[in-house]
Symmetry: C2
Subunit: 706 residues, 2 copies
Amino acid sequence: MENLFWIGFVGALIAALFAWMQAKRVLSYSEGSERMQKIAASIRSGANAYLKQQYTTVFKVFVVVFIILLAIAFGSGGKMLSKYTPFAFVTGGVFSMLAGFIGMKIATSSNARTAQAASESLNKGLRVAFSSGSVMGFTVVGLGMLDITMWYYLLRYVFGVADPVSLGNIMVMNGMGASFMALFARVGGGIYTKAADVGADLVGKVEAGIPEDDPRNPATIADNVGDNVGDVAGMGADLYESYVGSILATFALGAVGGYGFNGMLLPMALSVCGIICSILGSFLVKTKENATQESLLKSLRTGTYTAAVLAAVLAAPLTYFILGSWGVYIAILCGLVGGCAIGYFTEYYTSDTYKPTQELAAASETGSATIIIGGISLGLKSTLTSILIVAAAVLVSYFAAGGSTVIVDEAGAFTEAFNRGLYGIGIAGVGMLSTLGITLATDAYGPVADNAGGIAEMSGLPEEVRGRTDALDSLGNTTAATGKGFAIGSASLTALALLVSYVNIVQENTTETLNFTLTSPTVLVGMFIGAMLTFVFSAFTMSAVQKAAQSIVVEVRRQFKEIAGIMDYKADPDYASCVSLCTRGALHEMVAPALLAIVVPIATGLVLGPTGVVGLLGGVSVTGFAMAVFMSNAGGAWDNAKKYIESGHHGGKGSEQHKAAVVGDTVGDPFKDTSGPSLNILIKLCSTVSIVFSGLILAFNLMNLL
Amino acid sequence: MENLFWIGFVGALIAALFAWMQAKRVLSYSEGSERMQKIAASIRSGANAYLKQQYTTVFKVFVVVFIILLAIAFGSGGKMLSKYTPFAFVTGGVFSMLAGFIGMKIATSSNARTAQAASESLNKGLRVAFSSGSVMGFTVVGLGMLDITMWYYLLRYVFGVADPVSLGNIMVMNGMGASFMALFARVGGGIYTKAADVGADLVGKVEAGIPEDDPRNPATIADNVGDNVGDVAGMGADLYESYVGSILATFALGAVGGYGFNGMLLPMALSVCGIICSILGSFLVKTKENATQESLLKSLRTGTYTAAVLAAVLAAPLTYFILGSWGVYIAILCGLVGGCAIGYFTEYYTSDTYKPTQELAAASETGSATIIIGGISLGLKSTLTSILIVAAAVLVSYFAAGGSTVIVDEAGAFTEAFNRGLYGIGIAGVGMLSTLGITLATDAYGPVADNAGGIAEMSGLPEEVRGRTDALDSLGNTTAATGKGFAIGSASLTALALLVSYVNIVQENTTETLNFTLTSPTVLVGMFIGAMLTFVFSAFTMSAVQKAAQSIVVEVRRQFKEIAGIMDYKADPDYASCVSLCTRGALHEMVAPALLAIVVPIATGLVLGPTGVVGLLGGVSVTGFAMAVFMSNAGGAWDNAKKYIESGHHGGKGSEQHKAAVVGDTVGDPFKDTSGPSLNILIKLCSTVSIVFSGLILAFNLMNLL
């Protein structure tokens, strides 16, 4: 059975072929007028320039970490760290980078084409934007399959790691490179996009009173570049990391849970099956010409839900065939259903068709202070449903997959039943992400539509075209929120699986029985530090946006003052200066938060030992999840409350209420697009860093002296 | 040695005598002109009316809980719950209520007197306000000593509980009543005061452009009433709960740690010693006539630091004499030093003499959105130092007091060394609060000075008097922030001690070895629910303020519009309607969050069993601490950034920057005075509720069926 692992290559191939077809299709469309081509080219070159510099910075950090890993692995003769890990670290990073880069390439080639197609018909616009999103979605899953399958064959057949437990323990460390790259991409891209957005809005919309994407706004190109480097390249790297991470986390647990190599085959088979279902689903995404907002959403939903239902049906024989266990199948269903439930409640809290966001919009009647208070309390409240869903998914998948209430045997080792239960939690995460190909396509289509709207506005296309791109864009807000829900939901499950792998690996390498009881002072102190890490990481990313945005505000104000004739279209603003300010700001500010995720777990380990690290991982997982949900939903609700007012409620555009809502939206920008979505990566990076450095920490820590 | 427990009564007596002397002294001052007396009387009657209604509502809830406790205790023949607990629940609630009520009584009698004294000299104003604060401070500690000593003698000699472990386990449950009352007082008072404040500011200051405390503002009396019911009565109940809770938490651990009754004598002796040191320190609080802000702060600090140093010196022979352990003395020092360190960093993050708040003020240059983002990131960042201080205090006091890295013996029970170490953590919390008499006096003096300023403004006292009361008030902001630091810092230590008591009590009542390993799914799910509780509780309290404030805004706008002549002083506004709106709003909104703290731990226990409860307590302690620090410091910094601008920076009063800063301040109001300071009570209430209901949960929970 386990010899079927080659299906990973098949999955990668299918995904690549489909992505290639979609790319060809997109590129067959026209890029429109010369002015449109020129704008698209500026956005493309800005995005390329930023990514080039970002990769240069990241490259340096990767070299340093690679050398440290090499030193530990070869210095200890492979005892403290497998000799393969430094190399897997590099491939993970490169593949994660590629996922984002390819997505960005196609997105910047699709934006003008989408605008042009939308000028022909709404359905054409939708198809081009969605095809562009599909390229990204299937590139991510294809690269993920390739990376995992490649390393599996290398380790097992070339380097001869024949024992499934050892193989699983090595593979689980392979996620670190992807997570590290993803954190840089998310944080750097997130800072870039929101600095540009906030800066453009604060001076352009609020002070000068010109519309969004107005060509007179010097920050407008930077804003559109930001959509690509943040919402596309950043998100691609992020979800690549989530996808690969969820699969690898189950590998180690399947082996110790007694499933051997079959425990690794199942998540791969499930993912390949998900790729095929996603392709089938994506054929259903189309719309009629006079489509409303609802029918557009329905067409995307038809695609994603069909894929999910197909995957749910096919997973049953698959699971039974491979593991002979219906319990594990229930765990997979938990993941699929949990993901949809999180998506639904994300929409409930953030969409203006429901009460919470409508009430938030009403808070604008008493000014910006009350809308801020209202948004914060809405976001905090929204953690209720997300956490209850995750709690239910964890418990049901654990017990269904054979978990037991007795988790430690007399010798202090975790029981096989416990590991089987945890394997259930891990595979629920894989299930949640199995149809990532199509969910990511619906998500990545958003920024393309957003850019298309910008290009339509800047190149003076007719009002009705802008109307169509606006319809596409506004839908993108909803799918983006849902996408974040999937990323953080799966992260919570993956993080728990990684936490247990950490403990298993530590226990294997020591004869001491370590005490991971929650009441232990080192565990408790670790939990405090984990919470601190979440809070301080969020602070760093928020203040990075604030600082970079302030520099944009100053620059835009300067241009309005010094370049005569901008306002009456007689002179062009200096777009490039804003692009380069954002680039510098993002690169300068992204390093500190990313390093936190590596330095804090290691430092905690050196002082508190492995029990402190377990506390930290528990603390950061729990607070990181709650904080991510809070931030994403508060930000989404503010954004849509503003849109709700713009659509004519509470005084409409230009009213005092609208101004108050713009303040809310601006505060929400770093919440929902910088700090919030980075937290799911932080959680997993902390876990894999802890696993990779576990040998070092076990040998050297202050608690050994007591 | 243990026969010396009667010193608790001596401490109570000394504190009561000193409070009585200070009260007599305050009341010997004149209340000033007829107009001043009239305003003071309105504030007094508003505060009385609110408290009366609050106590009526709370009484009903207490009756219900009392009956439930009676039913469990007597229904199970004392097996699931001690028969004394229902009664201790009532006394704890009554004493906590009394602490707040007496403080409020004296504060509302001192405000006009302070204004009058300030019109004579700054030093006189300071002395009256500080004496009023002292009444509250010493009432709180005196009542605390009385409650604990009384129950100790009742249980040990009247009801014959001769075993220290049993006595400790019964006493530790006595904190529940105080915590429950405190939560109502803090949340209800916090909603009241901030609804009034936000409402008054939004319409008065921002829309109508009239100064703070202007008699034309219909919400101004409600605002002043709020200071008394929230910042005085609420804070008194809160700190009563902290004080008693920290002492009781050490009782149980001292007994299981092998110290017997002497382990209970030490925290009592330490507290009595702290009372005497506080009295000595309070004699040093005075100032010269031409005092600057700095010299005023110095005079308060001389008092508190002298008291702390004296207590630190006296604690050494005391600890050695009672327990014969220098290690426990080091733990006490950890508490005292940790408290001062948290106080210092609170000031660093929130005072406008330091960089963080100055930079926050500078963010006003780019509008209200950036000052909000800046304040949130400042608050999140400030968790760094607080958590590192608590982490260091926990580790040092644990190991110094004899804690060991081996925490569980072969039979699965916690070792004596572990309990001794935890006793160290608990006593560090007692040490931190030992000089509460004087720290609370400096804290409670603030609202009195604030009210005095209001009365000076409303009764048209000369400009220089308002200048003096402003100086006193602004100092109060700093001491209030420090006071919150102490409350939350001690809460984190007390919560850890309670957590271990919970596990001890559960283990004692079952033959099963329960597994509290952090990696257990029930523990992890419990942690998630703990984090959710923190977030949702904060959401409830924030949105309560928002809703109540919105109703005030509507009412004030109505009065400005409908009552002709308010603006040119020809007609009096209807103060009473705002007072009653606030009362209704606060009472209506306070019940849900308070009930959360009781319902969630019990529900979690019924589903997940004791291991889930331990996860919940860990999760709520850690996230509650971080969230409280974040909210208190962000709120404090916004407030002072606004004051910094008002003192002439960044455009000064009335500028666009100032308007942006007012938005920040308004958002910060519920952060720092409603949600933030309630969290320390939430943490401890969850713990004591879990302990009280542990017998019930052990017998009935879903996990028993698996």
